[in-house]
Structures are given as C-alpha cells and as structure tokens.
C-alpha cells in the first residue's frame, strides 16, 4: 500500500503552500486517477509520492516504511516530457540499461524497434522517446508507478499502445498505478477510482 498521509509542501518558507493536507492511498494492482485544474499541485504531489521532493509535513510510506534514500525506489515517476528525463548525450541502449535490464517482452509490447538502440535521444520522435523512458521503469522492482500526464503529448495510437502495456504490467505484477491527467475519457477507461483535487 502506497500511502501519502497529510502531505503539505511549499517551495520555500515564504512561498504559498502548493500541496495542502492531502492524503491518498493506492493498493497494489489498483489504478487511481488524479484530476484537478492547473495549479492545484498535481505534479508536486506526484513528485512527493515518488520521493523527488520531501514533504514539509506529513509522510509518504510504502508498506509502512518510508521511501529509501538510496537504491532503487519502489515508487517510480513517469513524466510528460521524455526529453527532460533522458541524458541527451547517451545512446538509447545505455538509457534502457540504466535501471534494470528491461524485460524483452515489454520492449516488444511497447514497439521499441531494435534500430533505435544505437540512436541519440534527439534523433527520435517524442512518442518513440516516451516509450523508452517508460520501458526503463517496467521491471520487477517497481511496485508503484506515478504517471504524470504521461501520454498528454502523444497521439491516440501511441497512447493506447503504452497504456495497454502498462495495464498488463499492473495486473501481472500487481503494481499500484496513479494516473495524473486532464483527460476525462482516459481516466474513465483506465481507473478503478478517480480522486478530484
């Protein structure tokens, strides 16, 4: 169970609160949707849950334990812009090896072409790069995945392809999934529960 309890966050002691007393819980294998207008702190909440930011007040726990400071974090974040989450000077095969060597079944399901492996990120389109960024997180050590507008920049076909693969991961590995999105029909199709912030 991934739990965020009474989370508060702001970017500086004189800044306004971005996340105010939010709590949520995701069970393994469950798909939770998060929907809210801009500026409500959805991305910040995602970052708190994945351990990129530390809450000012409140705790984030996985099975009762707080997120590890070192080693592979069981909660992984996939964000909207793949160009920012990859090192532009690395080739694709190095990117894929960065976490764990990914399962070849997922590589194929995501449609990652072997010809891409020797390319640089700027040589691939946004959709192709996003698939690689996501492939990095699909491995046995990931217990919870936070998808922050993950497919907002992608066309409908690539979007459906990616979600299909992720949903199969969710059911096979009982991964808890948090989907942050504006897209109401998408949330309806994917989520067991939807939380409105």
């Amino acid at each position: 169970m991934l739990k965020g309890d009474n989370l508060w966050f702001r970017y500086g002691s004189r800044q306004p609160w971005v996340v105010e007393n939010r709590s949520l819980a995701v069970a393994p294998g469950e798909v939770l949707g998060l929907m809210a207008p801009s500026g409500y702190g959805k991305t910040t909440l995602g970052k708190l849950l994945a351990g990129y930011l530390s809450p000012a007040k409140g705790t984030v726990t996985v099975e009762g334990r707080s997120l590890p400071k070192r080693g592979y974090c069981p909660v992984q974040l996939a964000s909207q812009n793949p160009e920012l989450s990859v090192n532009p000077r690395w080739r694709v095969h190095k990117l894929l090896q960065e976490g764990y060597p990914p399962d070849p079944a997922y590589i194929e399901a995501l449609g990652i072409h072997p010809g891409w492996l020797s390319r640089y990120p700027h040589e691939l389109s946004g959709g192709e790069l996003q698939r690689i960024a996501i492939a990095r997180t699909l491995n046995p050590s990931t217990q919870y995945l936070i998808a922050d507008e993950m497919t907002a920049m992608l066309d409908a076909n690539t979007q459906a392809l990616i979600w299909q693969t992720i949903l199969s991961l969710v059911s096979k590995q009982q991964v808890g999934l948090v989907v942050i999105s504006h897209d109401a029909p998408l949330l309806q199709k994917l989520c067991d529960r939807i939380l409105m912030l």
């Binding site: 207008p37 801009s38 500026g39 909207q80 449609g111 072409h113 010809g115 691939l124 389109s125 946004g126 959709g127 192709e128 507008e149 907002a152 920049m153 992608l154 066309d155 409908a156 076909n157 690539t158 979007q159 459906a160 392809l161 979600w163 299909q164 504006h182 897209d183 109401a184 029909p185 998408l186 309806q188 199709k189 994917l190």
Partner: protein, 309 residues
Amino acid sequence: MLSISNLGVTFTQYDRGLRRKQLTVITDLDLDVQAGEVVAVVGASGSGKSLLAHALLGILPANAAISGTMTFQGETLTPERCQLLRGKTIALIPQSIGYLDPLMSVGSQVQRVAQLAGCSKTEAKANANRTFSRYDLPEDVGDRYPFQLSGGMARRVLVSTAVVTQAQLVIADEPTPGLHPDVVKETLSHLRALAAEGRGVILITHDIEAALQIADRVAVFYAGTTVEIAAARDFSSNNLRHPYTQALWRSLPQNDFVPVPGNQPSPEQLPPGCLFSDRCPWVSEVCRAERPRLRKVREGWVRCVHAKG
C-alpha cells in the same frame, strides 16, 4: 488560398565522421486550405506536421532540400516569397511561451510583431492593445513578462502574436498539449473565430478530439505523407477511408482504446511501397510494390488502393 502538392523535404545529416545520410522527412504531401475554413493536420510525432509549418514559413534549416509545389493566393510560394509573407500574411502561433523573449515584456513583443508586419509604432501599440482586450486580457498584461503569465493568459498572448499581423493564413502549431480542457476549448474557439473572419487556419495537432471540435476538414499525416483528407463529420459518422485513420479513431479512450502495433517507418529507410504497409490489416502485394496516389473517394481524399468509393 493555399495549395500544396507533392511536397517533399529531405534533410542531409552527418552520421559518423564524414558520412552523410539522407532523411526523407516529408514525401508527397498534399494539402489545401480555403479562406474561412479550419483545416486540422493530425498525426503522430515525427509525421512531419511541424516541418510543414516550417516549410510554409520558409524557416527550414539549411540542410533541407524541398521539392514539389506550394501555391498561396494563386502564386507560387518560393523561398523568397515565404520570407516576404512571413509574419505579414502567413503567421505562426508558436507552441509555447518559451518561444517569446523572456527578457522583454509581452506588450512590446506583440507590438514589435505588428511593426514588422508593417504598422507604424503608434498603430502597432494600439493594435496590440486592441488585440489584448479582444481576448479579455487585463490592461496591464502588456507590461508583464512571459514568466508572469498564467497558462490561459499565455495561450491568449501567443494567439495575439499572430492575430495582430492581420495575416490571411494562420498556422497554430500544437496549441493544446498539457492544457486544462477549459483552456483548450477557449483556445480552439479563438481559432474558430479567426476562421470566421475570413482567414484560413491550419491547426497542427496530435489530439484528434481537439481537432474535431473546430475543424472543417482534417488532413491525416503519417510518416511524412498525407494519407487522408476527410471532413470532420466523417469521424463520428464512421465514414473514414484510410486504415490508419480508422485505427487512430478506434484507439481513442472514448472508443475502443485499441492500438495498432508497430511504428512509423524511419525517414532513413522508407519502404518502397505504401508507407503504412507494414502495419496495415488490408496489406497486399500491390501495396508493397508501389506507393498509392492520392485519389478522391466519397468526397474526401485518400492514399490507399483499397478504399472503396
């Protein structure tokens, strides 16, 4: 107003060391836009949509080679003419606030755009203010810097940069990704209003639902070529002609949410036949051998040998 036929764009890039490779990013692209209509250009990333905008504005990089015909208002669009018309008769609504100078106030930037389009300084300032109030922007927005604008305001300022030029053809490059549905709706309605004034609007996007909200016709791009040009109502009335368009429609979450597997072919290695042949459910020998031409089928255009009239 605008007519593009058989447009081709090839980039020459360096591979390792001195070896050069050719990337054919746009092949046989056909499109036409009338005054007063909104034509949506829909396709996946890497399908050549943004490159089309750059070609129309004449801002392709130096290592690009263009072939084919582009006619605007009856005359051929040569690179020199592109440069003349850029910012005055053909305008681009940039994708994000990052395209504005972060060190200049937005008012002076919009004013400058107007001046470059031919207004005098005072005219330009009045024009800019008029455009801002048209989009319900507060009076002091001209003094703000780009980073001080909220998402919705930023969108409206970006639209203003094109509107202030009185351009006849407005190209909106991906105006909606990452935006809240309300802001999306508002942005799209502004574009519709521009068309209602008699201008031509090209809406480049990967988001079909957004496109269908305001477009009259939709051109579907795949791997740098036009595969179908359909009327917007064809989508919901099940009147789609090309298998890719049909697959795209089916993969929407509102519909079946089922994707078609595979990828767009790489611009370095385009297949000799139809570009969709490796993923197409209707593929046959004739598709693999030769690239189909765009033909008129049921009031729309399609590049497929199997589409039935």
